[in-house]
């Protein structure tokens, strides 16, 4: 077993993420892979990807490994499982301690999290019951425009006006969008409407958890520039961007927890 490296593995519903650190807290490897049906397979794949390029390091070689994400209980080789809410908080805290509020938009859920000065969760609110306002929702919307996610996320930035989407439910919203497309409405304006409706959902979640500045976004959808823009309009202030990939925050937090555990074990 290597006493030099620790790992955090975030098994999400759409992507598996892994971060490897040395005991000084330096990130030495990371990965983002598409989730498989079996969470165990996803975690193995993500860790294998992250270890690439680190000589002589294999799956079972970590001083400590923490699993997180919805599939965390299915990571059999993890030393410990920690809830993704705590991991996101910790990941963000070590990346930028000034941040007090997080909106985390994952593949199938949406969370608002507030954190204290130590990176512990103060409050959280989450929606994991309905797809509206999650990564899945955006995938559906991109499908309706027949563009990829990246393209979709940039469309609203070119909008001239915001065409409101009235349906909250992702299924009905998709139908609404298709009919707007059929009416030859400007796709950029429709996209802006979609982003605005999700931003409103994020805002509700943030309000529920309690908004304190600075605010950041994590999860795959944090890379959606259109959404960030729409949320900033509602918040009326700028959202802080993270220096590390926001999609890795859960895995990074898990890795930080693993590092602390490994240091304690080493000291003891």
């Amino acid at each position: 077993m290597s006493t030099t490296y620790v790992c955090g593995c975030d098994v999400g519903s759409t992507y598996g993420k892994a971060v490897i650190m040395d005991l000084n807290g330096k990130i030495v490897g990371s990965s983002i892979v598409r989730s498989k049906i079996d969470p165990e397979e996803t975690s193995k794949l993500a860790i294998a990807e992250a270890t690439k390029g680190i000589d002589g390091l294999s799956m079972n070689d970590f001083a400590y490994l923490v699993g997180t994400g919805y599939g965390r209980n299915r990571v059999p080789f993890a030393n410990e499982n920690i809830s993704e809410i705590s991991c996101h908080a910790m990941g963000v805290h070590i990346t930028n301690p000034a941040i007090k509020t997080i909106v985390d938009i994952g593949g199938q859920d949406l969370k608002g999290i507030t954190i204290d000065e130590n990176g512990s969760v103060k409050h959280f609110a989450m929606n994991d019951k309905c797809a509206a306002g999650t990564g899945r929702f955006f995938e559906g919307m991109a499908r309706a425009f027949e563009v990829d996610l990246q393209e979709f996320s940039d469309m609203s930035l070119k909008a001239k006006e915001i065409l409101p989407i009235t349906s909250q439910c992702s299924v009905f919203a998709e139908t609404e969008v298709i009919s707007m497309v059929a009416q030859k409405k400007n796709p950029n304006d429709i996209a802006a409407g979609i982003q605005a409706s999700v931003a409103k959902r994020c805002f509700t979640m943030l309000k529920s958890a309690g908004i304190e500045r600075e605010v950041t976004m994590t999860g795959g959808c944090a890379k959606n520039k259109g959404l960030k823009n729409a949320l900033e309009k509602i918040l009326k202030f700028e959202i802080t961007e993270l220096s590390t990939d926001p999609q890795l925050m859960g895995a990074l937090g898990a890795c930080e927890f693993a590092r602390k555990k490994a240091l304690v074990a080493k000291a003891g």
């Binding site: 209980n73 809410i85 705590s86 959280f124 019951k129 309690g210």
Partner: protein, 568 residues
């Protein structure tokens, strides 16, 4: 033949073929189990582990036997069984004996039969007409759920209250079927003391759905569906919508004398009783309790209304009010109140002896559902004695108790494992809850007016009425007061989705919690319908809170996520 008729015919033939196919399959399965080859393989499997493995594999591979084999032999089912046997064990030999003794007593109570042959026959007929009555037998399993993992004095306290309540429910059933002329149909939350003083029995209309749900956790779903199909909006609070569902399904025994209802706990019940009244067509009295009962005029209005109710009952049933009897009933109620205050006081200590359902359940039964019962006094004295003993020994009812909580909003009626799950998984002890807490007033027994005024105050402050109905200061003010008194680690706010009044106050609760640095766990759920938020959904919300906010370690990680089908 029209297309529709043809379609229906085709559907009927298809349904029949499916049924036949299933019966054929069952027959084939049975034949297989009875075959000499299967018996020989079983004999071999008993002695030889390898043969056992092979047999299980074979059973799992065969589509006829696979469903049963998976339920019995899959790793998940095996793990659940192991967990079940582990969790069912209740302490030492003495605890096991106590548990067994009360379990037997509970059976005896549930099997109770009337004396005369004629009455026995009547009750048998009633069971045929109202099959939900059989659910009462499941009180034993309710007892098992409440006492899961409990030991010592707490175990005795839980069983005692459950058995007493079972006997009270059976008594009500006997009344409505054997003595209907002297029984009135009554909504919960109407001063039951008045019936007692008038020598009237009452049958609580909420029994078939709202109360029996504690015994059979799915018995009520058909009633919710019934009332929604009838046109009541499906987001109506299902506490209030179930009883009309029972009536519409023709499952509510009707003594034919009178119906008494009120606007307590809230207007949701008031409107749903319009359906009950219309469907049953019996003389009805609706008590109209003023919204804000803090002023003297409001209380006077309620007292006037109670006099009206008494006059109505005298006229419709021929029974007369006996004020001396009411005095005795009120004295009993006062005695119960005194004991209750002591129980609450003991829970303020470091080792609260009456947490969770041990606090809530007896209060619900003998303060809110059937207050003024003479036999509730010895029960409460017994519970008080046990509570005192636990208090002196510093024996907390939750072992080990890791977190003190105050539970706000109505608790999970439809999920009776909830309390024991909180204890087993996280060591949570609810030291006070909203349905239990309300100012306990001493009823002044000097005159009819003073007694009715005392009763008015008591019922306005009873379960749900005081808090979920308003004014808002009752809801928030009491949380703040109880927080000071009980020093909880967190507030468990069970946000019953049907309860508009309390849902509207969640924001205020959050703000207050933020200002006072008090963690609050908000659980969205439906009090009576696990089809809205599943039981795992409820547990997940608490798990998330405990892990992320309280940074707690589960006492038993196998209870974090489990299949409710294999409920432990």
């Amino acid at each position: 033949m029209s297309d529709i008729t043809k379609g229906m015919l085709a559907q009927a033939i298809l349904n029949d073929s499916i049924k036949n196919m299933m019966m054929e399959q069952t027959k084939a399965g049975m034949a297989k189990f009875k075959s000499p080859e299967f018996k020989a393989a079983c004999m071999k499997a008993v002695a030889d582990p390898a043969a056992r493995e092979a047999l299980i594999k074979q059973l799992m591979a065969d589509p006829l036997t696979a469903p049963v084999a998976f339920k019995l032999f899959s790793p998940e089912a095996q793990a659940a069984m192991k967990a079940q046997s582990k969790k069912k064990s209740k302490g030492n030999a003495k605890d096991q004996w106590v548990d067994f003794k009360y379990w037997l007593k509970c059976w005896k109570t549930c099997m109770h039969q009337p004396e005369s042959k004629e009455d026995k026959a009547k009750m048998k007929q009633a069971q045929m007409d109202f099959p939900w009555m059989i659910d009462l037998m499941k009180t034993v399993s309710m007892g098992k759920r409440y006492t899961e993992g409990r030991t010592g004095i707490a175990l005795q306290m839980s069983w005692k209250a459950i058995i007493h309540q079972a006997a009270a429910t059976i008594e009500q059933l006997n009344n409505v079927f054997l003595d209907p002329e002297n029984t009135v149909l009554a909504q919960i939350m109407v001063p039951t003391q008045i019936y007692k003083a008038m020598d009237l029995h009452h049958f609580c209309a909420e029994t078939p759905a709202n109360i029996l749900i504690m015994m059979d956790q799915h018995c009520h779903e058909k009633y919710i569906d019934e009332v929604v199909n009838h046109g009541l909006p499906d987001d109506t609070c299902n506490y209030a919508s179930q009883t009309p569902g029972v009536v519409l399904a023709g499952h509510l025994p009707n003594p034919g004398t009178a119906l008494i209802c009120s606007n307590l706990p809230c207007e949701a019940g008031f409107s749903s009783y319009a359906i009950v009244e219309r469907e049953l067509g019996i003389p009805t009295y609706r008590l109209d309790v003023p919204y804000n009962f803090k002023t003297e005029e409001d209380r006077a209005a309620y007292v006037k209304d109670m006099f009206g109710m008494i006059a109505f009952l005298e006229e419709t049933t021929g029974h007369k009010m006996d004020w001396d009897k009411l005095r005795k009933v009120c004295e009993d109620t006062n005695k119960l109140g005194e004991i209750e205050l002591e129980r609450w006081e003991m829970n303020r200590s470091e080792n609260p002896p009456v947490c969770n359902d041990m606090l809530w359940f007896p209060h619900l039964c003998f303060f809110s559902m059937d207050a003024g019962r003479a036999d509730a006094v010895p029960l409460f004295e017994d519970l008080q004695k046990l509570g005192r003993r636990a208090y002196m020994k510093k024996e907390c009812s939750v072992k080990p108790m890791k977190y003190r909580a105050i539970l706000w909003n109505p608790p999970t009626f439809g999920y009776t494992y909830f309390w024991s799950w909180m204890e087993r998984c996280w060591g949570i002890g609810v030291v006070q809850d909203m349905e239990t807490y309300g100012p306990v007033n001493v009823i002044d027994t000097t005159s009819p007016e003073s007694m009715l005024e005392g009763l008015a105050l008591q019922w306005c402050n009873a379960a749900m009425s005081r808090h979920t109905r308003g004014p808002a200061e009752n809801w928030m003010g009491d949380v703040a007061k109880l927080t000071e008194m009980y020093r909880p680690d967190f507030i468990l706010n069970l946000n019953h989705m049907g309860c508009r009044s309390s849902l509207g106050l969640t924001g205020a609760m959050k703000e207050w919690a933020n200002e006072n640095d008090m963690p609050v766990c908000i659980v969205d759920y439906s009090m009576y319908d696990s089809r809205v938020v599943s039981r795992q959904g409820i547990r997940d919300q608490i798990n998330n809170f405990m892990m992320n906010i309280m940074h707690a370690e589960p006492l038993d990680p196998s209870l974090l996520v489990f299949d409710d089908d294999n409920a432990w």
